[in-house]
């Protein structure tokens, strides 16, 4: 089971969207923290960004990734393993990689520019939010992916999400 998580995690670290997510967070953090001298305002703005961005990006990205991995997950499930084991491994690989992206994107600028107690609380909140919303992404996937392709609902949902994010 640990191997599946490890490979999902490593696969995601090389994913372009995760890198873009990290970079965007890093740019935003450096900008907001460097903007005024007032560190409390900077931290508050960063909190707003976190509360706005992290849930949306995390849910969308994890749901899309799981949908794209549907056939691979089916292949893994055809092995003599429990369904919950595989799903938990996919979940943990995804949650850990998104958390790593958040910690690098927001955590690093915070630690460099503003190493106060409140910063660490923000980082912790971001990680917790990531874990929560990855599980919502997984829930969306599990609820929708068990519909048959015949109904077309899964494919239309998948298509609309895909077009939303890729433009």
């Amino acid at each position: 089971m640990l191997t599946v998580s490890k490979y999902v995690f490593l696969d995601l670290l090389k994913n372009r969207s995760i890198l873009v997510y990290t970079l965007v967070l890093a740019v935003l953090s450096f900008t907001l923290l460097g903007l005024d001298g007032n560190s409390a305002k900077g931290l508050l703005s960063l909190l707003n960004i976190t509360l706005l961005f992290v849930p949306v990006i995390t849910t969308l990205f994890s749901a899309i990734y799981f949908f794209n991995s549907l056939e691979f997950i089916e292949l893994l499930l055809s092995q003599p393993v429990k369904r919950t084991g595989i799903l938990l491994s996919e979940y943990s690989g995804m949650a850990l990689s998104l958390s790593a992206a958040f910690v690098s994107g927001v955590g690093v600028p915070l630690v460099i520019l503003l190493p106060v107690g409140a910063s660490f609380v923000l980082i912790l909140c971001g990680v917790l939010l990531t874990f929560i919303f990855t599980s919502i992404g997984l829930l969306i996937f599990v609820l929708s992916a068990t519909r048959p392709v015949v109904s077309g609902r899964r494919s239309s949902f998948h298509c609309s999400l895909h077009y939303c994010l890729t433009g």
């Binding site: 599946v4 696969d11 090389k14 994913n15 691979f72 089916e74 055809s78 092995q79 015949v150 109904s151």
Partner: protein, 242 residues
């Protein structure tokens, strides 16, 4: 070996499987045929535990499959479309699968070598063509030398050389007394390979017979002629052409 009783599966209002009763024994090469949407993939997924039926039961070697994932150690599955994480290499995918099956270390790497996958083991899955991904899927299905093979459109997308290698491998495994279930729309690929035909339509079992009986009944020897013969002679309302 596989005993399916009264298998029924409905998705919302759509009845994918309707009271299927089947018995499959060792050493058979069973072709699962039928029009699109007839329930072939749902039947395969039910055997694999990917779909849980609401009525009926499936028993493999006498053991009911519900809630016991360990029976899948004896099944090799090759999906119709193989999709893999983009950034993993062939070697990493195989390593992951082998790690999931830690207890089984006796690998059958014949297809891995004959398909030339060892030479491209460091290529990322994202860079592979569809046919090459199919070869990886085939390799995984045969890797642990299981008792039962379930191959969903195995030859679709393979080049002619790989096609022949796979057919030879399937024939060799049948000769060893394994049970092979194949779904395919390319009936000519199944000629000479298949021993029994199962024909599904609208979730129901229309017929399940050996190739010998069908050849005698229709007077044809090639599979597409046999099926065409049965379909044209059947009541046109009951059986439709795939």
């Amino acid at each position: 070996m596989i005993r399916i009783e009264n298998l029924t599966k409905t998705f919302g209002k759509f009845r994918a499987l309707d009271g299927i009763n089947l018995r499959l024994e060792k050493g058979q090469a069973v072709s699962l045929l039928g029009p699109n949407g007839s329930g072939k993939t749902t039947l395969i997924k039910s055997i694999l535990g990917l779909v849980i039926p609401e009525k009926g039961s499936i028993a493999i070697n006498g053991q009911l499959i519900r809630n016991h994932p360990s029976y899948r150690a004896n099944i090799g599955y090759m999906p119709q479309i193989g999709r893999y994480p983009d950034n993993m290499t062939i070697g990493q995918v195989l390593h992951m699968i082998k790690d999931i099956r830690k207890d089984h270390t006796n690998y059958d790497e014949e297809l891995y070598l004959s398909f030339g996958l060892d030479k491209i083991r460091d290529k990322k899955m994202r860079t592979l063509s569809g046919g090459t991904r199919q070869k990886v899927s085939a390799c995984i299905a045969f890797l642990f030398s299981p008792e039962i093979y379930i191959l969903d459109e195995p030859t679709a997308g393979l080049d002619p050389v790989a096609n022949e290698l796979l057919k030879d491998k399937i024939a060799a495994e049948c000769a060893k007394g394994k049970l092979v279930m194949i779904t395919s729309h390319v009936l000519s690929d199944l000629d000479g390979l298949t021993s029994h035909i199962i024909y599904l339509q609208d979730g129901q079992l229309k017929f399940h017979e050996s190739i010998g009986e069908l050849q005698a009944r229709t007077g044809e020897s090639k599979l597409n002629k046999i099926i065409a013969n049965i379909l044209t002679h059947a009541d046109s309302k009951q059986i439709c052409i795939s």
